[in-house]
């Protein structure tokens, strides 16, 4: 088993954090894994992405060029990465910010208006967690307890109050 996931969006949308929660959840289950951020000046204000690889064997390259799963949170990321999604792959799209068609009929595309939904449900800023929730339900590798301990590892102790809010947003995304 190997899952190559790419999270992409604007800096500030929490794409690196979403990847971190996925990585920490996989860590708890004993998988081999890697997490690699884009880094450099473009991470501030510009586009930002991170690659997470989960596998049951040693991971070669942590760079994901053809993601099995793309989580796209803005239009530039969608444009840049949609064609790289592997055949029969999955794209989870924040449709409140991305109104775009693609000619990929060989992949599964799931549109969730995550940013709008987050605002409606008093979860503003947690679109990333809603999309991650959907990813968790699609890959079906982890149960609620795994995700909860992955979340605890990902949030620094000074921001512990955010744990439950994040988990609520993940549960919301999973249920869609």
């Amino acid at each position: 088993m190997i899952k190559q996931v790419l999270f992409a969006g604007f800096g500030g949308q929490g794409v690196l954090f979403a990847g971190r929660v996925l990585a920490n959840t996989a860590l708890g289950k004993g998988y081999e894994l890697s997490w690699l951020p884009s880094y450099g000046p473009e991470t501030r204000g510009g586009t930002s992405n991170c690659a997470v690889v989960i596998s049951d064997r040693k991971i070669g390259s942590p760079i994901v060029t053809n993601p099995d799963i793309l989580v796209a949170m803005n239009a530039p990321s969608f444009d840049r990465f949609i064609d790289s999604v592997s055949e029969n792959g999955l794209a989870i799209i924040d449709s409140s910010l991305i109104i775009r068609e693609s000619n990929r009929d060989d992949i599964t595309r799931i549109d969730i208006a995550a940013t709008t939904l987050a605002q409606q449900k008093q979860l503003t800023g947690l679109a990333n967690m809603i999309l991650l929730g959907k990813l968790f339900s699609e890959i079906a590798l982890f149960d609620e307890a795994d995700i909860s301990s992955g979340m605890k590892l990902s949030v620094s102790s000074s921001r512990e109050s955010l744990i439950n809010l994040n988990l609520t947003a993940i549960a919301l995304g999973s249920s869609i």
Binding site: N24, L27, L33, L36, G40, G60
Partner: protein, 354 residues
């Protein structure tokens, strides 16, 4: 069992240094290394006697390490390629003064300011070009964060044993990525440093840390003595890891991040019946010449894979000494060769399944 943690390479190498007894760190920001310094700036002020200092330049940071190490403590600095170039003046002085230390180079692409993406284009610098005068440092090439952590202990201990600087040649990929790591329950080993500038307290002759010998015969004697240490290191501490080499007819020779991808490519080829293996230099200086020399007896050909235009390939060719063809594949500018690219290269060389 110790806890399995998820950490960035840059943070793990810093934590490992603290566990290995290094609480004197002198740094300077540069991407993609800065997290090493940032981590130390958080941790060291909380440790009794811990010193974190941000120097005014990489040049100064290296010289602060020279001072601290000369005073007998375990000292460390880290930087990324352009910053290492600035440190090389001092590395030459440390080598000439027989001062141990640990330096981490989180390589980025060059030359000049280059880019900030990962690279292995500092191989020549690390193994050949550490300032003037023909000096060496121990050069370790981790290919995982776990290995990088373990090398920090070895780095300090061998550096002190042989009184020579040690370098961990990381890169932007290993520095920036996170993967699971287990910190070893290993107690650091310390040895006496009778040469250290501790203040003689009227109990011994005064110590001098120096690299200047105006009398040619004196300098030659000094350099010969050091060369003997270098030769012992070459004999005892050259390390290579081999993977699926028992029946291999073609081998990839790669280190660090390039070796990770090469290993994964070999796994795929093995499933297709191609008898490929991997020789991974773990130390770059001393270079594991013997391991490659003896592998060349069984192999038909070698492919060297690097994130550069080909630097280590020269050492591989010296080791093979013309016995079999040594091919090269590399990407540079900050690009890691992909698994598929390496597979294609090997298929082309072997003519498919053999």
């Amino acid at each position: 069992m110790a806890e399995r943690l998820l950490m960035k390479g840059n943070e793990a190498v810093a934590e490992a240094a603290i566990l290995a007894g290094c609480i004197h760190f002198f740094g300077y920001p540069i991407t993609p290394q800065t997290e090493v310094a940032a981590y130390m700036s958080k941790r060291l002020p909380k440790i009794e006697g811990g010193v974190y200092l941000q120097a005014e330049s990489e040049i100064a940071a290296a010289n602060m390490v020279l001072g601290a190490s000369a005073a007998g403590v375990r000292a460390m600095t880290s930087s990324s390629s352009p910053g290492i170039s600035l440190k090389t003046e001092c590395i030459s002085y440390m080598a000439g003064s027989d001062i141990p230390c640990l330096i981490v180079n989180v390589q980025r692409a060059g030359p000049g300011l280059g880019g900030i993406q990962p690279s292995q284009a500092d191989y020549w610098q690390a193994t050949r070009g550490l300032g003037h005068g023909g000096a060496h440092a121990l050069v370790f090439a981790p290919s995982s964060i776990q290995e990088m952590v373990d090398m920090v202990f070895d780095g300090f201990e061998l550096a002190e044993q042989y009184r020579i600087p040690a370098i961990i040649l990381s890169d932007g990929l290993l520095g920036q990525m996170m993967e699971p790591v287990i910190f070893p329950e290993r107690k650091p080993k310390y040895i006496d440093k009778p040469w250290a500038l501790t203040g003689h307290g009227f109990k011994r002759e005064h110590n001098i840390v120096n690299s200047l010998y105006l009398e040619a015969s004196e300098l030659e004697e000094k350099n010969n003595e050091r060369e003997q240490r270098y030769n012992e290191i070459r004999r005892l501490h050259a390390v290579a890891d081999s993977y699926l080499m028992e029946d291999a007819s073609v081998a990839v020779v790669a280190y660090g991040a390039a070796a990770r991808v090469s290993g994964a490519a070999i796994d795929v080829l093995r499933e297709q019946g191609v008898k490929a293996g991997l020789i991974r230099p773990v130390t770059l200086w001393p270079f594991p010449t013997a391991a490659i020399e003896s592998a060349a007896e069984q192999l038909e050909q070698i492919l060297v894979v690097e994130m550069s235009h080909g630097q280590m390939v020269e050492d591989v060719r010296l080791a093979v000494n013309g016995k079999i063809p040594v091919h090269f594949y590399g990407r540079n500018g900050g690009i890691l060769p992909t698994q598929q690219e390496i597979i294609n290269q090997l298929l082309e060389l072997t003519g498919g399944v053999k």
